[in-house]
């Protein structure tokens, strides 16, 4: 087992964790609303319910650490410090979007904060993230590379190739598997013979843990330990975070009209809301007051309103620019 970092037990900034999760949640709720109103048209995979993973991980990172993600990536982008206005604009296909309207929801990037991009091909971000770890190693930088992916990506062969490679060469990579039990409509038990991803990883001689992905403090503490291990040059680390997506695989709906998941199951996970869990603990321990909480929520609402206004005032890309960005000069 990995020894806990004895030098400086990382103290989580609870208000920051609450603020960051609230930003993710309220942003996605607004996006859901805009999807329902048919204002946003691009295929959009909402992160609602999984916020503790992105926030717990990203709060333990440095600004220049790399992050790679998937089709479900708004949360990772925002938690890493991505600009909300640029994200909103991208969802509307505006030229001020973080991908200048070329990518839409599934393809967002913010290289200035280490967020090198999200891909809509399941599993494809995993070797790419390992590659950034290789780069960091060759350049002797202290940056680590963090890769977010779902349990569906673990079905792909390239996942195992990447794990093998990262472990063999002891690359500075943190694998974050968000096991939300589903790949679209298909539960993990129909895709993998055992629901034991974290155990499989141990056979590659990589430290690996299963943690509660709905407990932001648990995610944060485990990420701190993992990051410490990686920065010491001891090689990659794997966290399987158990969580659940509340909404449909794609789009704003709840996905309970079919027989692959029940309303009761969704509700049981809503009762395990990661934000409510933190909020309750903070109020109880007087880490913040109800008034402070309300102020945070009001500030976030303003930020989202501002992002929406920005997206609406922004222009679309000019049709004449179609062939821009095919190559870099």
């Amino acid at each position: 087992m990995i020894k806990k970092n004895k030098k400086k037990p990382m103290k989580p900034d609870l208000k920051q964790l609450f603020l960051s999760m609230t930003r993710l949640r309220m942003f996605e709720e607004r996006v859901a609303d805009l999807l329902l109103k048919d204002e946003i048209k691009c295929p959009t995979h909402l992160y609602i319910g999984q916020e503790a993973v992105a926030v717990g991980v990203c709060e333990a990172l440095k600004k220049d650490d790399y992050v790679f993600s998937t089709h479900r990536s708004h949360g990772h982008y925002l938690a890493k410090g991505g600009d909300m206005k640029k994200l909103m604009a991208e969802l509307f296909g505006k030229s001020t979007g973080c991908s200048q309207g070329r990518g839409g929801s599934m393809h967002i990037a913010a290289p200035d904060i280490g967020y090198l991009g999200s891909t809509a091909i399941v599993g494809a971000d995993i070797p790419i993230g390992v590659g950034a770890g290789l780069s960091s190693c060759v350049r002797k930088s202290k940056q680590i590379s963090v890769i977010f992916f779902g349990d569906g990506a673990v079905d792909e062969g390239v996942f195992y190739e990447s794990i093998n490679y990262a472990s063999l060469y002891k690359l500075p990579v943190l694998f974050i598997c968000e096991n939300n039990l589903f790949s679209t409509h298909l539960r993990i038990c129909f895709r993998q013979p055992a629901d034991n991803i974290f155990q499989r990883i141990k056979t590659f001689k990589m430290p690996s843990k299963r943690i509660d992905g709905n407990d932001v403090l648990e995610v944060y503490k485990n990420t701190c330990a993992a990051v410490d291990h990686i920065r010491q040059g001891k090689g990659p680390y794997f966290l399987e975070c158990r969580t659940y997506r509340w909404r449909a695989h794609v789009g704003p709906w709840l996905d309970i009209d079919f027989d692959f998941r029940s309303k009761a199951e969704v509700e049981s996970w809503i009762r395990k809301c990661p934000i409510k869990k933190l909020e309750k603990a903070m109020l109880k321990k007087k880490d913040f007051s109800a008034a402070e909480r309300d102020r945070i929520i009001a500030d976030v609402k303003n930020e989202i309103d501002e992002a929406y206004r920005f997206s609406q005032e922004s222009p679309y890309p000019d049709a004449k620019e179609l062939l821009n960005h095919v190559f870099r000069d």
């Binding site: 070329r102 393809h107 390239v158 895709r191 679309y316």
Partner: protein, 330 residues
Amino acid sequence: MRKIKYSQAINEAFHQVMNREKNVIVMGIGVNSPWYVGHTMEGLFKKFGCNRVIDTPVSENGFTGIAVGAAMSGLRPVVIHPRMDFMYYSFDQIINQAANWHYMFGGSVNVPLTLRGIVNRGGEQAAQHSQSIQALFMHIPGLKVVMPATPSDAKGLLISSVLDNNPVIYIDDRWLYDIEDDVPDGFYQVPIGEAKVLKQGKDVTIIASSYLVYEGLKAAEKLGALDNIDAELLDLRTIKPLDTSRIFDSVKKTGRVVIADGGWQTAGASAEVSALISSEIFSSLKAPVRRVCLPDAPAPASKTLEQVYYPHSEDIYLSVKQVMGYKEKA
């Protein structure tokens, strides 16, 4: 004859061929999902069960190879992808393995495998959910490639693909799913490798495949109505092997050609058709061949860029006008 939709014709082909041929299985991501693209897989799981309708893990490379092995040992698998973009993971199995094995072993083994890739684009889906990569497959010896445009061909060519003794890439386009037309209700095949003239004409040949067939028909109508130009429309139906005799017959008659293909222009399907025409029947041409294809860019998300990215009937119309206006310099 009754009319059904293109998507229903595909579904009917699956039901009929699986009913008749007990060694046909289908596999792919989401084949038993409640919202499978255009409901083209509806009812199959219920009727044929989990042994023959396999909703796979997200493992394209693996399950394509598994299908190759199953095909070589007595089954006729159909591997299905809800977007062609997801097929890239499986290219080794398709190209190095499925396409080569028959030749490589001197004809002693064969791979009766159908790979159905759906072109599923538009709606701001961007670069990785929009591709139409028929040309990549067309390049590979040992693969056949079909791209039906009409509902009756969608059904007949699917059945032919499944019954063929070789790997066949079957490409259907979601933009065609709601088109309704006559479809025979019985079991029938449309031969692979045969193009079809959908509209006779004498002035110019529009050669098209898949959704651009309908865009071509619209363009031909407008050319007739506004410009008194009588365009012939040739639906390729199969892009490998190409039906060169029907292509050449039409071009010899009209002397002018516009080729419309929904993939990228550079080294695309249209390039092959154009090269064959100029190398084999150059003297029949009265004007240079023109092509209507995708520009050399990945698919963009934003609607303003999408609008100029995908070719439509107006692009075909304008290309035909250019071809008709061509005057040889003295």
